[in-house]
């Protein structure tokens, strides 16, 4: 197993890659990463030493460090050790959030080759209007080992583009870079690139060629690159049965690995009670299911002991959050409902939404 991790106490764009997989992160993800590792200015050296004991290979430049861990080293063991020895507090996180170097950012681009124990990696940093190109680790093969094609792409075309521009422009440039690099790899591997997500917070770019089992590269960095998937509907559903359930929204999605999900389900509901209906409690039952198994069941009473006079409408809503760990494969999330209150009652559902945030879970493999 090989783990690629980089982190920094500065705002940066970070790229972790193996031959087939690239990951781009920006500060939003970085905060999560730092929060998880809880590295501080004060314990930085201690953390580095701790990591060195757990990770055979480590490189650093300035206040940034990167790890290339091989063998049996697992991310969880690094975390455990850091938490035990680091004695970390949240104060650092506050310090880290203060942007001490405005205008500083860096982009690391590299290729881990797990079989040959060879690393091709270079950092491009921008600070105070100056671009620096830094090789990471003298013990590993650095910039000189870059293929001629990669060198050409990096430095003749894109470094200048990285030099200037706002975040959107950087993302555009990096996207173009990825596309060009993907073409190079595709020529070698015969696969097609898939850009899974692009926005202000970065993007995840995955090429199609399958990894062999011997290249079971567990990119735990992906833990911190959650992907949002959602669906919504504004069609109106009326439901008058208190025995039959009906699905009012579903979201099918793929998990590339064992993953952790943050789920949010929501719908507005209005309940109508006829004048002749004499039920003391009216409302709707809600059920959130994942692959047919209940995740949440809620009875939403929207009225009780109301006098049965004229027909009336009552508005309410349903919202559910949950965190689940799911196995690799296809999954379907559904909101099911039924009316509650008996004859003369109808529930209306509209403006409904299902969202998940999915990220790789510890122990997951690709």
């Amino acid at each position: 197993m090989t783990i690629g991790i980089t982190f920094s106490d500065y705002k940066e764009i970070m790229l972790v890659s193996d031959e087939y997989r690239y990951l781009l992160m920006d500060g939003v993800v970085e905060d999560a990463l730092l929060h998880k590792l809880q590295i501080t200015h004060e314990n930085f050296e201690q953390c580095v030493q701790t990591i060195e004991r757990n990770a055979p290979k480590i490189f650093r430049f300035g206040k940034n460090i990167g790890i290339l861990a091989t063998g049996d080293c697992r991310f969880s063991s690094i975390l455990t050790t850091l938490n035990k020895r680091g004695n970390i507090t949240k104060q650092i996180l506050e310090q880290l959030k203060q942007k001490k170097l405005e205008g500083f950012w860096s982009c690391r681009i590299g290729k881990y080759n797990t079989k040959k124990e060879k690393t091709e990696m270079v950092s491009i940093t921008y600070e105070n209007g100056k671009v620096n190109i830094i090789e990471h680790d003298r013990d590993t093969v650095g910039f000189d080992s870059f293929s001629p094609e990669m060198k050409d792409v990096f430095f003749k075309k894109y470094v200048t583009a990285f030099y200037v521009g706002n975040t959107e422009e950087k993302i555009t440039v990096v996207k173009e870079f990825f596309e060009e690099i993907s073409t190079l790899y595709n020529n070698k591997a015969g696969g097609e690139p898939v850009i899974a997500k692009i926005d202000r917070n970065g993007f995840q770019w995955i090429t199609k060629p399958k990894l062999s089992r011997s290249q079971n590269f567990t990119t735990y960095s992906l833990n911190f690159m959650p992907t949002k998937i959602d669906t919504e509907s504004t069609t109106q559903v009326a439901w008058s049965s208190d025995t039959n359930w009906t699905d009012i929204l579903e979201l099918a999605f793929e998990c590339e690995s064992k993953m952790i999900l943050f789920i949010h389900a929501y719908t507005k509901v209005t309940v109508y009670k006829e004048a002749s209906a004499d039920h003391k409690q009216i409302g709707s039952d809600f059920k959130l299911t994942l692959d047919g198994t209940d995740v949440d069941t809620t009875s939403g009473h929207v009225a009780s002991d109301e006098p049965a006079t004229l027909g009336y409408w009552l508005k309410s809503g349903y919202s559910c959050h949950d965190v689940l760990i799911v196995e690799k494969g296809s999954h379907t999330l559904r909101i099911a409902v039924r009316m509650m209150g008996g004859t003369g009652v109808t529930a209306y559902y509209y403006d409904r939404r299902l969202s998940i945030l999915k990220g790789f879970y510890q122990g997951g493999t690709i």
Binding site: T235, Q236, V237, A238, S240, S241, N244, T270, A275, L310
Partner: protein, 115 residues
Amino acid sequence: MKTATHENLEIENFPEWYVYLHKQHPEILGAEWDKEKKLLKIFYEDGTTELAEDELKTLKIPTVLRFRKKATPPKLDTATVSISATENEFTIETHDPENARKEIKLKLGEFEESK
């Protein structure tokens, strides 16, 4: 459960439209209305007779008239009238509000219609 789909319907106020439809046909389990696509789905128990599309297209929500209560609500000859009463008010649902008003006036004399 089975689903019947109907296209190109015009439904102005779906919740009220469905309330009226369900009063006429309590065997219906539910319905889904896509306003953008003008697509209606009606859900039935298996074995239930589905409604004819013509009936759905011509279904009109009745007008609701509200009157201050000064006497016992009268029985009216106007078709499709339903009456419900509270302590101070009674209401009439009718597809023919003008004739309903005339009948009320005829049978109750002076009356005051609520706004």
